[in-house]
Amino acid sequence: MDLSYGPRYEAFREEVRGFLAQYGHEAPRGEGLRSEKALAWQRRLIEHGYAARTIPKAYGGYGAQPDILESRIIAEAFAAARVSPGLGGQGISMLVPTLLEVGTEEQKTTFIPPTIRGEMIWCQGYSEPGAGSDLAALRTSAVVDGDDFVVNGQKIWTSTAHLADWIFCLVRTEPEAPKHQGISFLLFPMTSPGIEVRPLVDMTGVANFNEVFFTDVRVPTRQIVGQRGEGWKVANTILGHERGSLGDPNATMTRFNALLELMRQETIDGHRVIDNPLFRDRLAALQSRVLAMRLNDMRILSNKLNGEAAPLANLISKLQGTELRHELEGFAIDVLGELGLAYGANPAKQDGGSWQTSYMYFLGLIIGGGTSQIQKNIISERGLGMPREPKLAK
């Protein structure tokens, strides 16, 4: 056990802090994705290597060698200073890593630079009405016609489709092939003729995801990533990237501290909530699990660093991380009692109403990105080596 990052990294941490002290005031605070402030900050971060750090210079990145500890230090320092770490979203966190692995040179030079600068916003078109957990059952079709694919079908739950410039989309190109081998991965602009986006209001009251309809949408064949029929494999390079990032234990720890503060402030019958033995017990029990998940995350980091494997530590992190966070947010609502119900424009809302919003938002994350039940299938099959369910005879 050696928990120190060592002197070279401590020096690097000082460097990051120095940057934050000098430039931190330029960071956006609540300005939108498209605001000049957010875009200027993103360019500043790339210039200094605090965003797109390991993306090669040729594709507009900073071009540093991947170094897990440096990335961790940057994330920690920005979180501690409460400064925006730059733009995220599905383009930056999912598409760019995929293109780096399997994209053509032309795709890399065309799409990566504007994406990392925040000038090209993406949405992820995977789920369909008939293909959720069973994603490979998707039916949106793409048929070759000259130099184009012609796309017809429907996607659903497409987050940010109403804001996005482009979509990365799974379509069926080989209808005769077994279901996992007939899928392709296409990129096309959301302004293409034949696309209709209909917003869906989610339970928090916001229309953040959408239905997306395609009618004879033409996509040049060179905008396929990977080969025809290999879309499932291509998508899976990204799903791996996604799973780790949901239910981040460090964010949960920050939230736990806010909950603790809330319990110190709030009173029931004139006594602080924190002094109530039942609430105290629940809080301490939650704290044990938050701590354990954070340490599990350190173990994952260390394993990556030292080339060691502990597959279960990774496989459980989406399930446990999102469930724990949802529980934590729900506990805060219990702490507030009737006050915790305040919502919408109600001025009595505590902490901006974030407990209710996050309580629901994290239920969304329990469902999205592979439901908890699907996670348990994965844990039992890949982690514990248990057999798959027998297929029903057709």
């Binding site: 056990m1 050696d2 928990l3 120190s4 990052y5 060592g6 500890l69 603790l260 319990m263 110190r264 924190i274 033995p277 105290r280 017990d281 809080l283 301490a284 029990a285 704290q287 044990s288 699990r289 701590l291 354990a292 998940m293 340490l295 599990n296 350190m298 173990r299 980091l301 260390s302 394993n303 660093l305 030292n306 060691e308 279960l312 530590a313 459980i316 399930l319 446990q320 039940q373 996670q375 348990k376 299938n377 844990i379 039992s380 099959e381 982690g383 514990l384 080596g385 248990m386 057999p387 798959r388 369910e389 027998p390």
Partner: protein, 357 residues
């Protein structure tokens, strides 16, 4: 940076597990449960160095730390091994080091006896889980009086005794005024005793309550590690059994209800591994976090262990409920560890205090 076990620790773990699997199989556990002693097992483990894990090299031990001891405790829990490890090999040397006595005679010599397995040291900490009934120990001069309802090890030659004022004492089992009687518990893999002291001559090890508090924290980590090992064993047994047992013409491991029970156990157990390692590491290297992380490990493993003990038994169906497969030894050991020296509710109340909530 490395969060995890060193090569040496991994090797130690593998060596001990090999010995436990070969020499102390479930049959040996059953014999102990039916009344045999555990001294032979303990001698074999001491030959491997288990008794000296924390004993300074100057006294012939391995001079290792609490994380190493936790690795061993996890292995012992995995095999539900009867052995006086916690008292003799962990708390006794730890107490002497903390009290600054390990280089002083007669303690230095006694450490040598403990590491060879000839001296067994039991543990009597009546306040560790909160005072029950009239339990407690008071000192008058160099003599102790009082009762300890549950003390560890029925075959020890001496006991570490925590007094109500926070002092730590050493009492010989042959001292006048010392009596012990069996305190039968549900866990038959380790034997406990009730101790009565009546003006029993004793030796003061430390008057500093911090020494006693440290012992309790270390005990919490060890019990958590023991439960971690036992829980992991139960999960593995459940997965293996589910792969063999067939119902409705297929292995029950193909039923999603069964798979999800196993996945839930794994999901609960896995983060506990990191927590136990970290808590153990803190005992030697991060004193400011030692007490809280020990408490978190003890409380969380108490809960996770209970869940796993129940769920793994259910996966085995009626077979899990029988004496035949012996799964109940794990179930009961986990149950013992949950209550011993403070159950989760008690420990969490202290965690809240410790953090000034």
């Amino acid at each position: 940076m490395k969060f995890g076990l060193s090569e040496d620790q991994t090797l130690l773990d593998a060596t001990v597990r090999r010995l436990l699997a070969d020499q102390i199989p479930l049959d040996a556990v059953r014999r102990y449960a039916e009344g045999d002693g555990d001294q032979e097992n303990w001698n074999a483990l001491c030959e491997l160095g288990l008794g000296g894990v924390l004993v300074p090299e100057s006294a012939g031990g391995l001079g290792l730390g609490i994380l190493d001891a936790a690795v061993l405790a996890e292995a012992l829990g995995y095999y539900v091994t009867p052995a006086p490890f916690l008292g003799s090999a962990v708390l006794f040397p730890r107490a002497l080091t903390q009290a600054g006595l390990s280089e002083v005679e007669p303690w230095h010599g006694r450490l040598g006896e403990a590491l060879s397995g000839t001296l067994r040291v039991g543990v009597a900490l009546p306040q560790a889980g909160g005072q029950r009934g009239r339990d407690g120990v008071q000192a008058a001069g160099q003599a102790l009086s009082g009762t300890v309802t549950l003390a560890l090890d029925d075959a020890a030659q001496a006991y570490l005794v925590g007094a109500d004022d926070g002092a730590l004492w050493w009492v010989g089992a042959d001292a006048p005024g010392f009596t012990r009687e069996a305190f039968e518990t549900v866990d038959r893999t380790r034997r406990s005793v009730k101790i009565t002291l009546s003006e029993c001559p004793a030796t003061l090890l430390s008057q500093n309550p911090a020494v006693l508090a440290d012992l309790r924290a270390v005990a919490w980590v060890m019990l958590a590690a023991d439960t971690l090992g036992a829980s992991r064993a139960m999960l593995e047994k459940a997965v293996a059994y589910a792969g063999e047992r067939e119902q409705f013409n297929r292995p029950i491991a193909t039923f999603q209800a069964v798979k999800h029970m196993c996945a839930e156990m794994a999901a609960e157990i896995e983060p506990c591994t990191a927590l136990v390692w970290y808590a153990a590491h803190c005992q030697d290297h991060l004193p400011q976090e030692a007490a809280t992380t020990a408490g978190h490990a003890k409380a969380l493993l108490g809960d996770v262990g209970q869940f796993v003990a129940k769920t793994a038994t259910e996966v085995h169906g009626g077979m899990g409920f029988t004496d035949l497969v012996g799964l109940h030894y794990w179930f009961k050991r986990i149950g013992f560890n949950r209550q011993c020296f403070g159950n989760p509710q008690r420990v969490r109340a202290e965690l809240a205090e410790l953090q000034g909530w």
